[in-house]
């Protein structure tokens, strides 16, 4: 099947909204990593009296869908309260763009993660709300819901691909079940490591295909 972007993705890629930096932003967060191929930074200016997002900007190191999803989530977030913006899902972002190819859905996850991280940083600093939860199977499971299986663009927890999560003094072991020569095995393992490493208290991540 020909993989192509919707007209809306192309529009946002060509002329991204809210691209750039906010000097003296109230919150700023970077998600992804250049080594993994895409990275997004989200800047927020928030009205402290109303908790409303007055301005939002982003920068992107990534492909067309990375830039387009950055553009759409900043559009969606602008003018919303931080609670409303935090509730934006990656599915919503992708739908706003008229859909993304399954193999590109992870870009939407990354953009939404960037926005949420910035909001949570703000909430932590301004309101003392701490999102960093303890390292346990539940937190790892929640984080793995952000790892999508590229051929279908659905997360690996929903797809029941995660067979075991073990935690021992900061060392996390994740067992997944994929064909040993599956072409998406390596990038998926990288994604799992990247996501689980973000959880506070994680010292190492070991992913095994069983």
């Amino acid at each position: 099947m020909a993989i192509k972007y919707t007209t809306k993705v192309i529009e946002h890629f060509k002329n991204p909204h809210n691209i750039g930096v906010i000097e003296n932003a109230d919150a700023c967060a970077t998600e992804g990593s250049p080594a993994c191929g895409d990275e997004i930074t989200v800047y927020l200016k928030i009205d402290k009296a109303t908790d409303r997002i007055e301005d939002v900007k982003f920068q992107s190191y990534g492909c067309a869908s990375n830039i387009a999803t950055g553009s759409i989530i900043t559009d969606l977030a602008k003018g919303k309260t931080i609670d409303e913006a935090e509730a934006i899902t990656w599915k919503q972002a992708a739908d706003e763009l008229g859909g993304l190819p399954p193999v590109k859905m992870h870009c939407s996850v990354l953009a939404v993660d960037g926005l949420r991280s910035a909001i949570r940083k703000y909430k932590k600093e301004m309101k003392g709300i701490d999102y960093d939860s303890t390292l346990d199977v539940k937190t790892v499971t929640e984080e793995l819901k952000h790892v999508l299986w590229p051929p279908v663009g659905v997360d690996i927890i929903t797809l029941k691909m995660v067979k075991y999560i073990g935690i021992d003094q900061g060392a996390v072991r994740v067992e997944i079940s994929v064909g040993s020569d599956d072409k998406f095995l390596d990038p998926t393992i990288n994604e799992i490591v990247e996501h689980v490493s973000k959880i506070r208290g994680v010292k190492s991540v070991n992913v095994e295909n069983v």
């Binding site: 993989i3 192309i10 890629f13 060509k14 991204p16 691209i19 750039g20 970077t30 250049p34 080594a35 993994c36 191929g37 895409d38 990275e39 997004i40 930074t41 920068q59 992107s60 190191y61 990534g62 492909c63 067309a64 990375n66 830039i67 193999v103 590229p150 020569d181 072409k183 998406f184 390596d186 990038p187």
Partner: protein, 393 residues
């Protein structure tokens, strides 16, 4: 459209199309004996065999036409490896081969063959010392390529051929040597005796011929068995009805290729050098992938543009009707960075920002200048949007 992705496929030359049309409409019979139309079709195929054979220093019956370059590689590698009576067989190739070769090797590994993947240096050149060290009495196949399809490295085929010939003498048996010449045919001449190759694969659509036809050279006396079965009236190695329309097109493409070969290579070299100079002069923070100068095929140029991602560059160029390719993981169906760029020591980030330009004899100075003029602001713009900055800024 400015098409700078000629490794993927080239435009069918108008003369090729005319030859194909004639073969399809006026000479549509199946090659056969005795009848006028049957022998006419048979002669068409023989003419094509002769022309390609003559160009590479072979004889007519050493060339067969296949359904693609990939099919030629499969017949060569499966067919000849299976035909070797070797105990605990081992197979040798490099880590930067064309996907078809690597896929057959992975499949052979599953069949129990032990595979060795030769490393390359920072410019993509084979480590011949390593090649020499892995050849032994168990070696059932060596497969190497003429020009690397991603970075244009011209590989030392003849030196490798000598090493394989010496090893063959040492083990008292000919170790089959397959050369994938698909990406080299456009810019490199080949003499199968000088290279000491036993099997050589070709693809028509890399030289302005049609898709769906390739060729395989099989040196007389090479042990090989068919991998598909059917009517052998054309060839036991490639059974079934030959694609005479495709073969007629491939034949015309070969004729045109050698009619102006040196002039065309010089033309392409001038253009890739012009593009390289322009990129170096106008765009900072770049890395050339593959050799500079004489070690690189005239048709190829691959640069990494740091701090940005290749699919985005490729798509912006595409909107300006300029077609290129990238080794970025984002543009790959597997989400993995290009394995050839990784093999020459690039990291993920460097592979990510890679753009490959592959030219043809039809490319013009205006094509290259337009591509450069569009590329410069695209790179600047994406860099301005990027989360990553040059260290100095």
């Amino acid at each position: 459209m400015i098409y700078l992705d000629n490794f993927r496929s080239t435009m069918v030359a108008p003369e090729v199309w005319a030859a194909m049309r004639t073969a399809a409409i006026d000479e549509y019979a199946v090659p056969a004996a005795f009848t006028q139309c049957g022998t006419g079709a048979a002669e068409l195929v023989e003419r094509a065999q002769n022309r390609l054979a003559a160009a590479i220093g072979a004889s007519q019956n050493e060339v067969v036409f296949t359904g693609s370059g990939t099919e030629a590689i499969n017949i060569a590698l499966w067919g000849s490896t299976w035909a070797q009576a070797v105990d605990k067989p081992e197979i040798v190739t490099s880590e930067i081969e064309y996907p078809a070769t690597l896929a057959v090797y992975k499949a052979l590994e599953k069949e129990g063959y032990r595979a060795h993947y030769i490393k390359v240096d920072g410019e993509g050149k084979y480590d011949l010392d390593q090649l020499s060290s892995v050849l032994n009495e168990h070696t059932a196949m060596v497969s190497l390529m003429g020009v690397n399809h991603m970075i244009g490295t011209i590989e030392p085929l003849a030196e490798a051929g000598t090493i394989i010939a010496e090893a063959s003498q040492h083990v008292g048996r000919r170790i089959p040597y397959h050369v994938d010449f698909a990406s080299a045919l456009q810019t490199q001449r080949l003499d199968v005796d000088a290279v000491k190759a036993d099997l050589v694969s070709f693809s028509s659509n890399k030289i302005h011929g049609p898709k769906g036809v390739g060729a395989l050279y099989v040196r007389k006396g090479t042990k090989i068995r068919p991998i598909t079965f059917g009517s052998e009236s054309y060839s036991p190695l490639v059974p079934g009805t030959p694609n005479t329309m495709g073969i007629a097109g491939f034949d015309k493409a070969v004729e045109l290729l050698y009619a102006t070969f040196d002039k065309d290579v010089e033309h392409m070299l001038g253009l890739t050098n012009r593009l390289a100079t322009g990129i170096r002069e106008h765009i900072p923070y770049i890395l050339l992938n593959g050799p500079d100068g004489a070690g690189r095929a005239a048709s190829h140029l691959c640069y990494s543009f740091l701090f940005i991602e290749g699919e985005a560059i490729m798509m912006f160029l595409d909107m300006d009707h300029i077609v290129v390719d990238t080794g970025s993981a984002c543009a790959a169906a597997t989400l993995k960075p290009n394995y050839i760029l990784m093999a020459i020591g690039r990291n993920h980030e460097e592979a990510h920002g890679s753009i490959r330009f592959t030219l043809s004899r039809y490319s013009t100075e205006a094509d290259v200048d337009t591509a450069l003029a569009k590329l410069v602001p695209i790179v600047e713009r994406l860099r301005a949007q990027s989360t990553i900055r040059p260290p100095a800024q």
